[in-house]
């Protein structure tokens, strides 16, 4: 056999697999990069949708509250005031109507304060996250008859954005646990570790399937939290499984 022919064949036999491997690695990482970019784009889109969806929910809630509570009270006040003209000469009836109108206005004022407080809790602004979470857990325990324990050894105030994001996320997680988990107890723990603020929300409910939560059609709750976390460079981790309670851990760099 021709020696030159063997050298050529041998060189080709060596170069082909090496080229194939190099080509494979290049194509693999390129495709992986494209897939990651597409995934990030989808996540960004989902967060945007969640944000818009969340705004719509809040607007609908405010609209409903204004219509059902304030609107009804103001209508009643207007009727009460219009009746005052009818009884302009009947002093006792006028006094009664004025008293009722004042009651209606007081109730409307009280409702406006409540709606405003629901939208932006004054405790959070004035006293910070720790006091706001303490207040929130106490009120929720009172309203739901479900023990919601808040544990925190800290005594500090944090960046306003961080405090609001963590407060809203806690509200979201507690509401989720109340609505879907059939929990008997909810624990909220706030701590600091390695220059990171750590918020943990656990419940002893029925848990849920992670795959279901990861579906694009999932509720906006978790997406909302993810969206809030992306703004403050926080991380949301969850340890969940059907049949046992859920644990959500949020860490935010300080």
């Amino acid at each position: 056999m021709n020696e030159v022919k063997i050298v050529i064949l041998g060189t080709i036999a060596m170069l082909l697999p090496v080229s194939a491997i190099i080509l494979f690695v290049i194509v693999y990482y390129r495709r992986q990069r494209l897939q990651r970019a597409a995934h990030e784009e989808a996540l960004h889109q989902a967060m945007l949708e969640a944000s818009v969806g969340s705004q719509e929910v809040v607007r609908r809630q405010i609209g409903g509250d204004l219509h059902d509570e304030i609107g009804a009270l103001l209508s009643a006040t207007r009727m009460s005031l219009s009746q005052l003209n009818k009884y302009s000469e009947n002093e006792s009836k006028r006094t009664l109507l004025l008293g009722r109108t004042e009651e209606l206005l007081n109730e409307a004022l009280h409702n406006v304060r409540r709606i405003s407080k629901d939208l932006m809790p004054s405790t959070l602004d004035e006293f910070g996250l720790i006091e706001a979470l303490k207040d929130f857990s106490q009120k929720m325990t009172l309203h739901t008859n479900l023990p919601i324990h808040f544990t925190c050894d800290l005594n500090a105030r944090y960046d306003a954005k961080t405090e609001l994001a963590l407060y809203r996320s806690t509200q979201e997680l507690v509401n989720n646990a109340l609505k879907h988990a059939e929990a008997k107890e909810i624990k909220i723990t706030l701590s600091e570790n390695n220059k990171k603020l750590r918020l943990e929300v656990t419940d002893d409910g029925k848990g849920f399937d992670l795959e279901a939560v990861n579906q694009p059609s999932r509720g906006i709750g978790i997406k909302n939290i993810e969206s809030r976390m992306s703004l403050i460079k926080g991380q949301l981790k969850f340890d969940v499984e059907i049949g046992r309670g859920s644990t959500f851990i949020i860490t935010v760099p300080l």
């Binding site: 056999m1 020696e3 063997i6 064949l9 041998g10 036999a13 060596m14 082909l16 697999p17 090496v18 194939a20 491997i21 494979f24 690695v25 194509v27 693999y28 990482y29 495709r31 992986q32 897939q35 992670l210 939560v213 990861n214 939290i225 993810e226 976390m229 992306s230 991380q235 949301l236 981790k237 969850f238 340890d239 969940v240 499984e241």
Partner: protein, 226 residues
Amino acid sequence: MTFPDILAYVSSLGVFFPLIIAIIRRENFTLELKLMFVYIIVSTLTEIIATFWARYLHSPNHFMLNIFSVVECLLLVLMYREVFINKLVKRITLITISVFTFFAIFNFTETSNFVKFNSLINSIACIIIIICVFIYFFQLLQTLTVQKLSVTPMFWISVACLLYFSGTLFLFLYGETVLFHKSPFFKELWVIYFILSFIFRIFLAIGLWFSKTPLQLKSSSKSAQS
């Protein structure tokens, strides 16, 4: 001692690298890596027996290479069958290896095919393994499930297989003409075989070293990160 002789020794000793790594990491092995472990044990034993056979009995050991090629192909194809996801591919792999094994046994019934170096069987074995490597690479490109190729055992094993079997296929295709020719040039070709063999074993050792820990494999709690 000539350079090819030194390389032959180094190459033979190289069989112990993956064996040692496999023994250290055996607790972490998944089924495909367990098959690789069996393959390494078989190749080490063959290497030892073949060396003693040639040196102390002074008789040709080509029949061992023939048997080993069939066993090697069987174990490596079964290993790839474990990592293939597509059921049709798994079935075809099983049929191919069964047909090959029966064909090899049938071919060996003729004494000359068994005693002498069997170029046909060795070449077919190489081609089957190369095809398996390409199917695995294609599967990786389709699924993109591996985050880092450089720490994936099957990637290193596949690179090792592709380099070794492509190189040796070229040598085996010409069989006795090239490998057992008396001319010095053809004798030098053995050097290529020794180098390929050494690289193959080193890459196998790297692959086995990256086998995952049992903790990572058995973790049942699901977690996600935003």
